[in-house]
């Protein structure tokens, strides 16, 4: 006999020995050498040739060892568990059947449930987490919706309040002129009172304190607050005399400003504050939680023939009316139509196509985001529904596992309704846990929602946990529990005791399987709808971001400089101040250029005016075009990188004494002078009286209102010919724009310490803000759609895996009779593809109908955009194929012998 050399292990063998550490120690000690021998034997077999062969061998070995190790550990644990369980009889759990009243048996159900759920902590935690997220999102969204759309406005008898908006040829403007307002006010017979509020807050400068302060002031008619029915907390409302042309100079404070400036002192009423250089007497204070349309620090009375209130052709006011009791909105509208017709015949030049449209105030205030809120509410509701479907599917599958347990209980005398109650208790208890967790989540989520989707509704900020929110959470929780529990419970409770105890664990659960298939089809359809919705919003958002605003928005810091009339009464003072400031700012290190204009694009939209070509006056003055009007300092177009298409730029020589000039944009040139050279032509502008301007240049179009809106007619005049107190500055920098904010303030204050410089923001941020809601909507819907899709894919996988396990027998026979892998894959795929195809088809049809609801939210994308529909279908189909392939692959691996054995 020869002596063998000491063993030298190959690298593979060493690795295999390491792998053996997966086994329990006893087993490893007993079998290590034999395992290694078998390993070497298998390795030496010729079957594993080449690199691919060796790779397959390695995979096989690792899989085999791991699986066997898992089985061994389970066996060891199972043995231990069996030994310890023999001490406790299972009947202790189901003791005392039929004893006690309903309450104690419900308690018994609950306590049994808690114990039972505790036994499957992983499963229970998964279900609770899925449901908690679903319930939380729903409760948060409901709370938001409740506050924004359902809860009545915090005014007296809010149902009687209507908003009046001007229409031109039926299109909502929405603002109405002051003179028209006065006429509606005097002639109507349907309103208890009719108030008016200005289009927005006006920036006012308050001096006389330690520092000049910039505040927001809003013009309101003297009777606006009585119309809303909100009393003053100190002092009084405005009086009718204070709305007259030479009425007393008065002001009301907001509760917030009263607190900030006067510490809520009662003697503030009667004091005087200096606003824009004029002393105004404080007559009253509104409550701190009062909010109507705009954030305001000061309320200033609208004065007949005063600011914004001296014409029939300027439209600056929203009207707010309180209907007399018993008057319907239809009757009020009819009354308004009569007055509109009277005004049209009395003032044809301004009122020919004008009318006043009444809308319920609440409806009017919510119409902007009604769609967004309802859309998100619908989306989270659908996601919860899908989640319920999945949990129901899980419970159905588990119901089969628990059959023997239920059978034993039934055999011991539990009736079917009793068992069903037990199972429903389980799902409701699970849902309750999820509901509690979800409500906690919801409190946090609704803050998140508000942060991303600012909703301009009174007292929207003071959201906490409300009674209605809790009630909704409870109802939703119970519904959810019943929804996902009822079918599994009915199925499981209708067990046939004798059959179940006789047969093995295998069940014929065709009803449940049909139900799960239907669930999957519904889930697929719903996720396709959500995916298409989010796809459309994403495309819309992408096109919004891709829009060229007409100027270079990068590296621009914007600021507002406001001079007061008392200090800068002369035109020269204004020109000198801004010319000097422009030079100072340009000298700041990092600044490359400075643009000065009265209203910056995006930041300050609005302000248009009637124009026509001088040599082509329209037959009817109502047919004049409307153009945005702006006033700029020389160098504006250069600094903003706006293209000069023809003519010459505005220069320092375009002063008050020289002929009045205008630079017009491309759209205006094409509208007023189609196919002609506009340079040198005259444009007539309605500035109260008609004034002629000479066109000296044409520049590229700029989207003044934001990326969403197409460029309209716009014209730019010279600051030297038309100076303003308030100018906006755009500073182009070579560095991060906001980094020069401090230097910019210093430059302004070196000229005049009394000028507030607020609201410094980068132009790119301003543009991003105009599309922020689109971003939020696209983002949230994408998240919901992804969750829905994942849940649907999991549901699909579950159904097919169940299908394969149930058909293992059939598949085994097919394989035994010569079916090839391809046939088996086809068998499984056919079922999966059918479900998915039906689901996608229903989803597409649904989406075709549903996406119309979001049409108004889309930019440059049709709600039936073919690309989105096709992409989503293909995308979903590929995800679904992956979900199908796993069970199909498992089906191929069905061993005919195993399959036949399981019968």
């Amino acid at each position: 006999m020869c002596q063998l050399p000491p063993p030298r292990h190959s690298p593979g063998e060493r690795l295999f020995r390491l792998l053996l550490l997966l086994f329990p120690r006893n087993f490893r000690h007993a079998y290590r050498e034999q395992l290694v021998e078998a390993y070497i034997g298998q390795r030496n077999e010729a079957r594993y040739g080449g690199l691919l062969g060796r790779l397959r061998f390695a995979v096989d070995i690792v899989a085999d060892t791991t699986l066997a190790a898992v089985r061994r550990h389970t066996a060891v644990l199972g043995g231990r568990a069996r030994r310890s369980r023999t001490n406790r009889s299972p009947t202790t759990i189901i003791a005392k059947p039929g004893i006690g009243n309903m309450t104690s048996s419900v308690l018994q159900d609950v306590s049994y449930t808690v114990r039972n759920l505790g036994k499957n902590p992983g499963f229970t935690a998964l279900v609770i987490l899925i449901l908690a997220v679903g319930i939380g999102a729903n409760v948060a969204m409901f709370s938001t919706m409740n506050q924004a759309l359902i809860r009545p406005l915090p005014y007296e008898e809010p149902g009687n309040l209507v908003l009046g908006r001007a229409t031109f040829n039926g299109n909502i403007n929405p603002l109405m002129s002051a003179y028209d307002y006065f006429d509606y006010h005097e002639r109507n017979q349907v309103f208890e009172s009719l108030g008016a509020i200005n289009f927005g807050p006006i920036d006012l400068t308050i001096t006389g304190g330690e520092e000049p302060e910039q505040v927001a002031g809003v013009f309101v008619s003297w009777d606006l607050f009585p119309t809303l029915g909100i009393p003053a907390v100190a002092g009084r409302h405005f009086t009718p005399e204070e709305g007259e042309p030479d009425g007393p100079a008065v002001v009301m404070l907001s509760g917030g400003y009263w607190q900030r400036r006067f510490g809520s002192a009662a003697d503030a009423v009667g004091q005087s504050i200096t606003v824009n250089g004029f002393p105004l007497t404080i007559v009253g204070v509104m409550p701190a939680d009062f909010h109507f349309m705009h954030d305001a620090d000061l309320w200033v009375p609208m004065r007949r023939d005063g600011a914004f209130a001296n014409a029939r052709r300027w439209h600056n006011w929203y009207l707010v009316g309180r209907l007399r009791s018993g008057v319907t909105i239809e009757r009020a509208q009819a009354d308004m139509d009569v007055i509109s017709a009277q005004l049209a015949s009395e003032y044809p030049e301004t009122n020919r196509d004008k009318a006043l449209l009444l809308t319920e105030l609440h409806e009017a205030m919510t119409e902007d985001y009604r769609t967004s809120v309802l859309l998100l509410m619908g989306a989270v509701g659908l996601v919860l529904l899908i989640a319920c479907g999945n949990v129901a599917g899980l419970l159905l599958a588990r119901g089969s596992v628990r059959r023997s347990e239920l059978s034993i209980r039934a055999a011991l005398g539990a009736s079917a309704p009793r068992l069903m109650r037990q199972l429903l208790t389980e799902s409701v208890v699970t849902a309750a846990a999820a509901g509690m967790l979800g409500t906690v989540l919801a409190v946090w989520l609704q803050k998140l929602i508000l942060q991303f989707m600012p909703i301009d509704i009174p007292s929207m900020q003071s959201m906490g946990i409300s009674g209605s929110m809790l009630a909704f959470a409870v109802i939703l929780t119970v519904t959810t529990g019943l929804l996902f529990g009822i079918l599994p419970a009915t199925r499981a409770a209708n067990t046939n005791v004798v059959e179940d105890l006789k047969s093995s664990a295998r069940t014929t659960d065709s009803g449940g399987s049909r139900f799960r298939s239907a669930l999957v089809v519904a889930q697929v359809a719903v996720s396709v709808i959500l995916l298409i919705g989010s796809g459309l919003l994403i495309r819309s958002f992408a096109s919004l971001r891709g829009v060229d605003p007409g100027f270079d928005a990068r590296h621009l810091l914007t600021a507002e400089i406001r001079l007061t009339q008392d200090k800068y009464s002369e035109t020269d003072q204004l020109i000198n101040f801004f010319s000097g400031l422009r030079e100072d700012v340009r000298a700041i290190p990092g600044v490359t250029d400075v643009a000065l204009i009265n209203q910056l694009p995006i930041r300050n939209p609005g302000n248009n005016i009637y124009v026509y070509a001088a040599d082509r006056p329209p037959a009817d003055r109502n047919d004049r075009n409307v153009a945005y009007t702006r006033t700029v300092f020389p160098g504006y177009f250069d600094a903003m990188r706006i293209r000069l298409l023809s003519g010459r730029d505005i220069g320092p020589s375009d002063v008050a004494e020289s002929p009045p000039i205008l630079v017009i944009n491309e759209t205006m040139a094409q509208t007023l002078f189609p196919d002609e050279d506009p340079i040198g032509r005259q444009v007539v502008v309605d500035m109260g009286q008609d004034v002629s301007f000479e066109v000296i240049a044409v520049v590229g179009d700029v989207r003044l209102d934001g990326p969403r809106y197409n460029p309209r007619l716009a014209m730019y005049g010279s600051y030297f010919q038309r100076p303003y107190y308030t100018m906006r500055m755009a500073v182009r920098t070579a560095v991060e724009p906001t980094s020069i904010a401090r230097a910019l303030r210093a430059a302004v204050w070196s000229q005049d310490r009394d000028i507030p410089v607020d609201d410094l923001s980068a132009m790119e941020d301003l543009i991003a803000r105009t599309v922020s809601r689109d971003k939020v909507m696209a983002l949230s819907l994408t998240v919901f759609a992804t969750v829905a899709m994942s849940l649907a894919a999991i549901g699909l996988y579950g159904v097919l895996a169940y299908y394969v396990s149930r058909r293992a027998h059939e598949i085994g026979i097919r394989v035994a009779l010569g079916a090839e892998a391809r046939d088996i894959v086809q068998l499984v795929l056919r079922r999966g593809v059918t479900l998915v195809a039906v689901g996608i088809l229903i989803g597409l049809v649904g989406a075709f109908w549903v996406t119309r609801l979001i049409q108004q939210m889309l930019f440059a994308v049709e709600p039936t955009d073919l690309t989105t529909f096709v992409t989503v279908s293909l995308f979903f189909a590929s995800v679904a194929t992956i979900a199908c392939l796993v069970p199909a692959w498992r089906a191929i691996r069905v061993d005919p012998l195993t399959a036949l054995q399981t019968e």
Partner: protein
């Protein structure tokens, strides 16, 4: 159909590895690796059995009393390693018979149902 004792029913259906090991050992005592080789041979390589599966199944069968290790003298140079031989226990034989009967019933049933299916 004869009444099958509960302790056998408890083990059914057998996993393929277990069934094949029983079938091989029904022919006589073998050591672990030889069992594996025999299985591969009998099934023309269709049933594969990695080292882990092989010895995990063997250990489980020993625990269930289906097979038992046999202590033999090492009688050839190829038996250098600590080879352990196994043989079927009477209970293992019972289980094997019960399982084969069960399978036969299924195959009969399957055949007739396929037959019916063709005429339907």
């Amino acid at each position: 159909m004869t009444e099958i004792p509960l302790e056998i029913r408890r083990l059914q259906p057998l996993r393929p590895a277990v069934l094949h090991i029983l079938l091989v050992l029904a022919e006589g005592e073998r050591h672990g690796y030889a069992v594996k080789q025999a299985v591969v041979q009998r099934t023309n390589g269709v049933v594969k059995m990695g080292p882990g599966t092989l010895y995990e199944s063997i250990q489980r069968m020993v625990e269930h009393g289906l097979i038992q290790p046999v202590h033999r003298l090492q009688n050839s140079p190829r038996d250098q390693t600590q080879r352990r031989y196994y043989r079927l226990t009477p209970f293992g034989k019972q289980v094997l018979h019960a399982e084969v009967a069960r399978l036969a019933e299924i195959v009969d049933c399957a055949r007739s149902s396929l037959h019916e299916g063709k005429h339907a």
